[in-house]
């Protein structure tokens, strides 16, 4: 029987952001549909609505013209909507069979028979009696898929399924998905990877800033056309003066940076090489989860990679911790403001003391010099126009923008030669974004360098002198930003290649 899934005028508004803005889409079985978009485009919100995890403020979902009330994941299950999330929901210490039998309604014997049928039919090779923790990421995903198949689903939603898979496992997954599709299961495939859309899907809906901006047949699309739809054409109005002087001193150089992690949710970094001149801003673009976190932590010294070479102002700093790197005049502004860059429960002046650089005398002979820290904090608050002058205020009472100003101020007041920041304007309002962009341009004008890791392409094009794209832990070639267009970035961010 054919399945027809229709989403009608779905809206979901979170404080300060419209996650889904009047989204209407139609899906029919026999095809694989892609839902494409950048981070924060609203894909996940839509998927969560379909799987009953959140309920929409407005709009309806129809399955074969029946209006569905999806107020819990249970409802989605009952209506035969299956969902495989990016992060698995398996009990690591239980066996595969035990995991599958947890929410089964039949007895173990007949369940085993059915599971074996599925294994045989789709050519999955999984030992049902080993603990899940012994499985590879691809095998775990298969267990999740089997769990959906056991309920003979009409709709199967896959959320970024290849982010933890190897190339080989990805190919296998695609073969299985095509088989499911032939059997009449409607497949919705969520991704930001352009190539996968083209090689797997029949139809693609592109989302941007909560809206569906296009629905089209994939055969009419190319990597370039999808990329520009995904990223959007809007270009930055103000652009900084590009740093062209080529004969400036090199200040920072990374050679042979490799990072291997046992954690499947971390990204391995493969042979990164780049360098930076005085007064230059190097932008690193990419969809989040492609190694930016790991790169930031390695550059800041939170993760030490002893085999890599990181040269800063002619000194090898690869083995130094963040505090020692600060002594050499580096500064860091991490993505996560509230649990990494600052502690909300601490007072403003205590958060300032986290950047305890050598000449600060914040802690003389191991004792806290409160007077000094407070004086210094007052200066930061006024120099960086934070909207309070009370250094005793707990940081949790600052707005995101003001907290970010405080953090940047704390990092910049030491006049560092290099600032490394990661999504510095994430979640901020326009006023704060402008202020931070101006600040970042100003430090380049003062001949200080910046590395800007960001998932916001607009921001990168506005601030960077040169841009590279990180994709699956690999860095693209570094391009002068005058030669970069949003389309080019989009292609590279989606794993494509340009000449």
């Amino acid at each position: 029987m054919a399945t027809d899934l229709r989403i009608s005028n779905i809206s979901k508004i979170y404080p300060g952001c419209i996650a889904n803005d009047n989204v209407s889409l139609q899906f029919k079985s026999g095809k694989i549909y892609a839902l494409l978009g950048e981070n924060g485009a609203g894909k996940s919100t839509l998927v969560k609505i379909l799987s009953g995890i959140i309920s929409p403020d407005n709009g309806e979902v129809f399955l074969n013209e029946k209006n569905l009330k999806l107020s819990s994941p249970l409802d989605a299950k009952k209506n035969k909507i299956g969902m495989v999330f990016q992060h698995f929901n398996l009990f690591e210490t239980l066996s595969v069979f035990e995991n599958l039998s947890i929410d089964a309604t039949e007895d173990n014997k007949s369940l085993r028979v059915r599971i074996n049928e599925i294994l045989k039919k789709y050519n999955f090779s999984i030992d049902l009696d080993v603990p899940v923790l012994n499985l590879s990421a691809g095998q775990k995903q298969k267990v999740e898929i089997i769990r959906c198949l056991l309920r003979s689903p009409k709709v199967l939603i896959m959320d970024e399924p290849t982010s933890v898979l190897t190339e080989q496992e990805t190919e296998e997954l695609f073969i299985s998905l095509k088989k499911f599709c032939d059997e009449g299961i409607l497949i919705i495939y969520i991704t930001h990877k352009l190539k996968e859309v083209l090689s797997l899907c029949d139809e693609v809906a592109v989302m941007r800033k909560g809206k569906v901006v296009s629905v089209s047949q994939t055969q009419n699309e190319k990597v370039e056309t999808l990329a520009s739809k995904m990223v959007g054409q809007k270009l930055a109005k103000i652009k900084k003066k590009i740093n062209t002087s080529k004969n400036k001193d090199e200040i920072f150089k990374v050679k042979h940076l490799n990072f291997y992690s046992d954690d499947p949710f971390e990204t391995n970094l493969v042979n990164l090489n780049f360098s930076l001149k005085k007064g230059e801003c190097l932008g690193i673009a990419g969809i989040s989860g492609n190694g930016q976190n790991e790169l930031f932590q390695i550059l800041s010294g939170e993760i030490i990679t002893p085999d890599a070479s990181i040269i800063f102002r002619n000194k090898e700093i690869a083995k130094l911790n963040p505090k020692q790197r600060r002594e050499y005049l580096m500064a860091f502004s991490p993505e996560d403001r509230i649990s990494q860059a600052a502690v909300p429960e601490l007072k403003i002046y205590e958060n300032v003391a986290l950047n305890n650089f050598k000449s600060s005398n914040f802690f003389e002979k191991g004792l806290v010099n409160e007077r000094k820290i407070k004086e210094h904090s007052k200066k930061i608050l006024s120099d960086f126009s934070v909207n309070t002058d009370n250094v005793e205020l707990k940081s949790q009472f600052l707005s995101g923008g003001n907290l970010q100003k405080l953090i940047l101020g704390r990092e910049l007041i030491t006049a560092p030669e290099l600032l490394i920041c990661y999504n510095p304007t994430w979640g901020l309002d326009v006023g704060a974004i402008n202020y931070i962009h101006e600040t970042l341009i100003k430090i380049n004008d003062e001949e200080k360098s910046t590395i800007l890791i960001s998932t916001d392409t607009e921001e990168l094009l506005k601030l960077s002198d040169r841009i590279a794209v990180i994709y699956k832990g690999k860095l693209s070639k570094i391009m002068p930003s005058v030669e970069v267009t949003p389309e080019k970035l989009g292609i590279l961010m989606g794993g494509g290649s340009i000449d």
């Binding site: 009330k69 107020s71 819990s72 249970l74 409802d75 800041s300 010294g301 939170e302 911790n321 963040p322 505090k323 020692q324 790197r325 600060r326 860091f332 991490p334 996560d336 649990s339 990494q340 860059a341 600052a342 502690v343 429960e345 601490l346 205590e350 003391a353 986290l354 950047n355 305890n356 802690f363 191991g366 004792l367 806290v368 949790q396 009472f397």
Partner: protein, 363 residues
């Protein structure tokens, strides 16, 4: 069919005054809970509570006993506060106390027939080192082998108790002791000086008070204290700031172990005067309650140690006057912790009730 849906949300702005006030609420609730227990056992609750909370400290001797038992609790809790503040869950203070007592007691036995002013300080230092070494085991295993310090420190409690058992029965047992499981009596030079004639309260209380002031200074006025505070609130931030995480774990465990070790020495050189099997009525475990009841604040801990000490004394008096088992002490300690955790939960989270239609789920 209407039903209530319960939603739990974190509160962002908990007033400091309320934060330090909730322990009192917990104590009041404990007293009420205790009254109910006495009532169900068939006693007049007011009378029984009077035996429990007032009678023990109604005379000078009782009051000195209160201080005597509060001394080790306070000292251990001060040490534990360093661990707990920095997110290190040292549950094995009882083991560190026992091992400190073993090492300190060993030194005391070495000098059993000698006199000299230097003997007592030597024993105290030995006890502190003993506790420190024993606390370093879970710390090193945690930092270098990623083990869970809760399990390791807890299991080591039983190791130290068995070592003590072996020593007092075997090699260290008193040769003139008719095979009782105890060592020789320590010499007078190896005993804590008594503060007043006829009372058991001893100079160990000054060690505890000194620990309070030193810990206040270290926690609030030094770089180490700042690092402990930040790591406790956010390990990610501590890493980002470049604090030496591993060294800090070792340091807080050493401080904690040293305090517990000294508390052990205080017991054997104070009221006990020798080593035997029962050197501590689980002071090391009870001190965990003291640390939290005192909000991990040095001065709060003084107050909390007095309250919890009273639960030990109350249990003894009610046993004598009402023939209720001494274990009521543990019941009261458990209630304090339970009510404290419960009121903390309500302090940090708000509970929202929402109407929600069950029938929607059924279709």
């Amino acid at each position: 069919m209407e039903d209530l849906l319960i939603k739990i949300e974190k509160r962002n702005d908990v007033p400091t005054t309320l934060y330090f006030f909730t322990p009192f609420i917990a104590i009041i609730l404990t007293i009420i809970g205790g009254g109910i227990i006495f009532y169900t056992l068939g006693f007049n609750p007011i009378e029984a509570l009077k035996f429990y909370f007032i009678t023990p400290i109604s005379n000078l001797y009782g009051f000195s006993e209160l201080l005597l038992k509060a001394t080790p609790l306070c000292l251990i809790a001060i040490g534990l506060s360093f661990c707990f503040k920095s997110n290190n869950w040292n549950i094995g203070a009882e083991g560190q106390l026992t091992f400190g007592a073993i090492v300190g007691g060993g030194v005391a036995l070495l000098f059993y027939n000698q006199e000299g002013f230097y003997i007592l300080p030597l024993i105290i230092i030995a006890g502190a080192i003993g506790g420190m070494i024993f606390a370093l085991i879970p710390a090193i295993l945690k930092t270098y082998f990623n083990t869970n310090e809760i399990l390791v420190s807890l299991m080591l409690v039983y190791v130290s108790k068995l070592i003590l058992d072996y020593l007092v029965v075997g090699p260290w047992s008193n040769p003139e002791g008719f095979n009782f499981p105890e060592t020789r009596q320590f010499s007078d030079s190896a005993r804590m000086p008594l503060l007043f004639e006829g009372l058991r309260i001893h100079a160990g209380i000054f060690i505890a008070l000194a620990a309070v002031f030193v810990s206040w200074f270290v926690l609030y006025k030094t770089y180490l204290g700042f690092q402990i505070k930040v790591s406790g609130l956010s390990l990610k931030t501590a890493k980002y700031a470049g604090f030496k995480g591993k060294t800090m774990i070792l340091i807080v465990f050493m401080i904690s172990g040293a305090c517990a070790g000294m508390a052990g020495v205080g017991e054997i050189t104070g009221p006990i005067g020798q080593l035997h099997r029962m050197i501590s009525p689980d002071y090391g475990f009870t001190a965990i309650i003291v640390a939290f009841l005192g909000r991990l604040n040095p001065f709060g801990i003084i107050f909390a140690s007095l309250v919890v000490s009273l639960t030990y004394l109350g249990a003894e008096t009610t046993q004598i006057f009402l023939q209720i088992p001494q274990y009521t002490g543990q019941v009261f300690q458990g209630m304090i912790l339970f009510f404290l955790l419960a009121s903390d939960y309500l302090l940090f989270f708000k509970i929202k009730f929402q109407n929600f239609n069950k029938n929607e789920l059924r279709h």
